[in-house]
Amino acid sequence: MNAHDDDRLRTLFDDAVSDVEPRGGLDRIQARTATRTRRPWVWGAGGAVLATAATVAAVAMLTSGPGTTDAGPGPAPATQPSKPAQTSATEPPGGTPVTVSVYYAGDTTRGTRLFKETHQVAMDNPALAAARLAVEGAASDPDYRTLWPQGTQVTAVSFDGIGDQGTATVALAGEGLTAKPAGTGHGSLALQQLAYTVQDALGVRARLELSVDGTPADTVLGQPVSQGVETQSADDVQSPVQIDSPADGATVDRTFTVTGRAAAFEANVQWELMQGDTAVEQGFTTAAECCTLSPFSFEVTAPGPGDYTLVVHDEDASGGEGSGPVKDTKRVTVR
């Protein structure tokens, strides 16, 4: 290849798309990143009897407010839980953040599955903020995405009842929320994405009730929801291999700890630290239990500072017959 070839190719590539004029999408992007709720939630008097630790956070989250998903400084929350959840070492301008788990979809050799990702949100309304992050697809890991139609908004999240027997109500707004999503067919998994996210943020395994544009919904994304939405078994809907920490893009020490969950044959979990296409370190560990999602943890020592990709995967027990191992990857920078 020479410089002439390069120039010719540049022209060819430029030319091939030179008349593509996007119709424009700023409005659509902004509709999806809007942080203002349409209808502020009003907390019912019945909530006052709630007594468990989890519901303390629930009360705090019911004050719906702006500024929960962006970096802008939000107003100080009117009510604060007496016991803040885990907080980060750094304090963004929005006040003390809380850590929430947000579930996204990703592709695995066993089809589309959910992956959990940790996010920090302002304390005033963590369940609403977490639900929004999930539905809007604001994943840190570029391999993850949302299964909800673009433009879907979460306008309120509320909780009523006690613990697992309670009901979480999620108010949605947007177009095309009733019909089964075209093309993807992941309506059921989209509901699981939301259900897992809201339940984790509330700290209870409560049933979800959904409303669309202010009316209780019978069907959402082609799925019947009039009886509420329950989470399905994690082994059925979540990826059998997930790295919980470090996060994608994290900067880590030369020796760092990896934690995650796996549902693996004989609980065997393998890992490689990749630099480009080369595995510079590798090893294996076992998850706490076999064949069901259970935690694992191991230490990695990188050869030196630089950018790496950590790959964690299960063994391909089928001996090459199957679709291959399930993996999760995170890019890390070793300082």
């Binding site: 798309v17 700023l26 802008g72 750094t90």
Partner: protein, 176 residues
């Protein structure tokens, strides 16, 4: 980490979306068209990438980092869309969109054919080769920028590029 950068831009997430949209939206859509061919799909991919960038702005904070994140998200989402959606079924729409602004019909047909040839040829390449070629010849990225966008080594970028160029040359010569 929130104040770790020497020169933090004063943008909030909403401003970042507006500024980066104005400067890069069209180019990113065109990049995605090179990868997925269909304009409508490309727009969805790029819009998704902007929404994701908005959610991550607190950690990006720098336009350069945000743009790198957008590029990466566009490439990854384009790849994912290709694998998991019936993009091929929508090619008829893509052709229509591509020709709509051209002047004379005869001239348009010729130009469309030539452009279609490159897009068709790209579609037959393995994902990585197509991605490396698009980043190199459309976005003019350096080898190391391509390596970090795709999460592969510079050596791999080189080899994908040379194989891709060789394959393209054969395909384009066969078709013309």
């Amino acid at each position: 980490m929130t104040s770790g950068t020497d020169r933090p831009v004063r943008w909030d997430a909403d401003t970042a979306v507006e500024e980066l949209y104005a400067a890069h939206y069209r180019r990113l859509v065109r990049l995605s068209v090179l990868l997925v061919r269909d304009v409508e799909t490309a727009e969805e991919v790029v819009q998704d990438a902007f929404v994701a960038m908005h959610g991550r702005w607190r950690r990006l904070r720098e336009p350069d980092l945000a743009l790198a994140y957008l590029r990466q998200a566009v490439v990854n989402r384009s790849r994912s869309v290709l694998r998991h959606r019936g993009v091929r079924a929508r090619h008829a729409d893509a052709e229509r969109t591509v020709v709509r602004d051209l002047p004379g019909a005869d001239e348009a047909a010729l130009v469309t054919e030539r452009r279609g040839t490159l897009l068709d040829a790209l579609r037959t390449l393995p994902d990585r080769q197509r991605e490396v070629l698009a980043l190199r010849y459309y976005l003019d990225l350096s080898e190391s920028e391509i390596a970090s966008t795709l999460g592969i080594s510079r050596g791999a970028v080189k080899s994908h590029a040379s194989r891709g160029v060789a394959a393209l040359r054969t395909l384009m010569e066969d078709d013309s």
